[in-house]
């Protein structure tokens, strides 16, 4: 399976290292053409303003949205989560708007308020959450599935094929969240590779009904 990691800025190498540990084919995505043939995309931690500006300059925002419309799974960590959100409260920077949440940037405070916390993640288990100048999810649509909470506020959410964490699994060396995402990508790949069979199946069923 081929997973792209947006490599414009941030800790993309840490994501790639974890993906390779899981035997995925991880590639750096810098330009629209790099999106060809990937089964999933990770938007890493970094500075969301910087990544957003670079994404726009490279014309990546539109291409990523197209890929999302095709059903390709996307996972964003911290800055990546901000960039995927529908709305950033009190800030007009660019977002892709692919998950129906509103985030507040740096809402836990500045760097001295960055923290580590023990989390429990649905279908994954106990997990060390590393929160660095993390955003807070102030609002989310009911369609979003809450996968982990901290003090009754979501820190990991999924809406269809978009997954976000406001913390950094890539800094822990623990590959289980990435495994969760790979399973999403695998499911999408199987669906994508099978349409012909499905179509045949449908027409056969249609014939039988006749």
């Amino acid at each position: 399976m081929k997973i792209g990691v947006l490599a414009l800025q941030g800790d993309f190498r840490e994501h790639i290292r974890i993906l390779r540990k899981l035997d995925a084919d991880a590639v750096e995505v810098r330009m629209p053409k790099d999106l060809n043939g990937i089964d999933g995309l990770i938007i890493p931690g970094g500075e969301s303003t910087s990544i957003g500006i670079l994404m726009k300059r490279a014309g990546m925002d539109r291409e990523i949205k197209n890929k999302h419309n095709d059903g390709m799974p996307i996972y964003g960590t911290c800055a990546g989560a901000i960039l995927l959100a529908k709305e950033i409260i009190g800030n007009r920077q660019l977002t892709l708007g692919l998950i129906d949440i509103s985030v507040k940037r740096n809402d836990y405070g500045r760097q001295i308020d960055s923290f580590e916390a023990d989390l429990s993640i649905k279908d994954v288990g106990d997990f060390k959450g590393i929160f660095i100048r993390a955003p807070r999810i102030a609002r989310f649509n009911n369609h979003c599935q809450i996968l982990s909470e901290l003090n009754l506020e979501p820190v990991m959410l999924r809406e269809n094929n978009v997954l976000i964490t406001t913390f950094h699994p890539e800094l822990t060396g623990d590959a289980r969240v990435h495994k969760y995402f790979l399973d999403m990508a695998q499911e999408h790949k199987e669906l994508k590779d099978a349409p012909e069979d499905a179509a045949n199946q449908n027409s056969r069923e249609a014939l039988l009904e006749l």
């Binding site: 500075e47 303003t49 910087s50 500045r110």
Partner: protein, 289 residues
């Protein structure tokens, strides 16, 4: 819930990788930097080129000014403290800056560096060889940058420092335990740090290039030499068009390996006037070993 851990200190530096950190002296410059795509700004009283020209004692910036810069941008704000000046560092921590640069660009306050383990806020420090880098890390620095020679617009020192560190790490590869032990005592650092650098074949923390970067090509050169990212001091706001220079250096760091793109990025810019290293009265890199 734990705060101020070394994982969190190193973690923020990881987030800055592949980015450009720009020196700014006021809120307006900070906004220009953020708009250009800077990953962080460094708040200081004067850019290094002006510090050089002004002479005298260079100190931490006015907290009022730092606060204005913090209020103006959403990216992390760093600020410089003098080497060994614990009180300046404590003031910066109280202000809530995101990173402190214990910097040779300011006039040192002590021959010894700050014990950075005692702070919750992370520190970045300059180094010109592996010994300096590992000494700063053992004192608690969570990020390293080359010293280069700040305020000169001359890249040679940053190149030398990066290459020196790389060569020294490479030379650890085939050393026996006895030899690395000797190096550890020569460097005055714990053996565990030498072993970590030997095993990883890089510094155990994020390593940026700094000191003399004046053009997109300079930034690309440092990335080609293996830097994780770039600090630009005087190079932006001493350029003919700071907005354009800022944006171009950001782009050059992303596309450092694409010469055709770099040719476009580098076109129509006018960099700061540089100084030859031999002609300098003060070599900032000699401060704080």
């Amino acid at each position: 819930m734990e705060k101020g851990t070394y994982v969190l200190k190193k973690g923020l530096a990881e987030m800055l990788k592949g980015g450009v950190i720009m020196d700014v002296v006021n809120a307006e410059q900070a906004k220009t930097a953020e708009k250009a795509g800077a990953v962080a700004v460094m708040a200081l009283e004067m850019v290094p080129a002006d510090i050089r020209a002004a002479g005298g004692v260079a100190r931490m910036a006015d907290p009022k000014k730092i606060k204005e810069i913090m209020d103006a941008v959403s990216v992390p704000v760093m600020a410089k403290a003098r080497i060994g000046h614990i009180a300046e560092a404590r003031i910066l921590e109280a202000l809530g800056v995101d990173y402190i640069d214990e910097s040779e660009v300011l006039t040192p306050a002590d021959n010894k560096h700050i014990d950075k383990h005692r702070f919750k806020v992370p520190f970045v420090c300059g180094a010109k060889d592996l010994g300096e880098a590992l000494r700063r890390i053992s004192e608690g620095a969570a990020m390293i940058r080359t010293k280069g020679e700040a305020g000169t617009g001359n890249i040679i020192e940053a190149v030398k420092h990066t290459q020196m560190i790389s060569e020294q790490i490479l030379s650890l590869k085939n050393k026996s335990r006895w030899e690395t032990g000797k190096i550890a005592s020569e460097f005055k650092v714990p053996l565990s740090l030498i072993e970590e650098a030997r095993k990883m074949q890089r510094l155990p923390v994020v390593n940026f290039a700094a000191g003399g970067i004046a053009t997109p090509a300079d930034a690309a050169l440092m990335m080609l030499l293996g830097a994780d990212g770039i600090f630009v001091g005087s190079g932006i706001f001493k350029a003919a068009s700071p907005e354009k220079m800022a944006k171009s250096i950001v782009d050059a760091v992303v596309h450092y390996n694409d010469a055709e793109k770099l040719a476009k990025i580098s076109s129509g810019l006018e960099g700061m006037k540089g100084i030859e290293i031999e002609k300098l009265e003060v070599k900032m890199q000699e401060r704080g070993k």
